[in-house]
Amino acid sequence: MAIREPGVTHAISDTGPLISVFQSDGLELVTTLLPVIHIPPACVDELIRHGWSQSLHSATSRIKTHSLTEAEEEMAQMIARQIAFHPLSRDPVPDNHLGEAQAMVLAARPEFANDVLLLDELAARAVAEELGLTLSGFAGVLLVAVREGLLTAEELKTRLETCQRQGTHYSEAFIEQVYLAAKGDR
């Protein structure tokens, strides 16, 4: 079980939000709010496959990998099938959803009961909500960073645009609306 200071909230992350963290050079910022990010083995594999191994290995004090028990792996396989066949999914191959499914299984452990699961994809989020997990996407974390005075609304916009330039599918409208929400928060 992870040891932590009282009052501190940790994150369990799927691959997508963590790639956004790396793309926007946001690890320092995100871990100011959520000091440790926990990830399952499938996310490690996906991060390496997508070329982020160096970023991952240079963050070992703040990103912790957890292996799953056999029962948890079976549960993750079942959740991956749920995501694949969800109406919001555009990818019917369960193995392609193993990262988010394993992250959900990890987030459901009692030790993470008061933590947040980082997840950006709609189908996976719908399944995670059915499981009663507390969710946020990457943009939600940035909005909280603005509210807590760690980031300006302009810096939030720049970070989302940086992710967009590197291939993350944030639309112009999405970035503008989140930026306006951030400005309204200050």
Binding site: E5, P6, G7, V8, T9, T15, G16, I19, Q23, L33, E46, H50, G51, W52, S53, Q54, S55, L88, S89, R90, D91, N96, G99, N114, D115, V116, D120, E121, L122, A123, R125, T134, L135, S136, G137, A139, G140, V141, L143, V144, R147, E148, G149, L150, Q166, G167, T168, H169, Y170, A173, F174, Q177, V178, A181, D185, R186
Partner: protein, 79 residues
């Protein structure tokens, strides 16, 4: 250097701005609740004048955080 980088599941539909705003509210509430639980272990009685003096020492980012907290608290008290 890392090899050529790519994103994960590029065709997966992502959340909306409204979802992101709701995420932020949910996350803020979770952070607040967890911090409160820790605070309960170290409750102290502090003279109000000490709090006012402490505010004079805060920096801009800390003042913004305090403003947000005061607005939330005021709204809760007045509701």
């Amino acid at each position: 250097m890392d090899k050529q980088k790519s994103i994960h599941e590029p065709n997966a539909p992502l959340l909306s701005a409204q979802d992101a705003i709701q995420d932020a509210e949910r996350l803020q509430e979770l952070l607040w609740r967890n911090r409160q639980q820790a605070e309960q272990e170290v409750q102290l009685r502090v003279p109000f004048t000490v709090i006012l003096k402490a505010i004079d020492q805060l920096e801009a980012s800390e003042l913004h955080l305090l403003v947000q907290r005061l607005e939330d608290r005021l709204a809760a008290v007045q509701s």
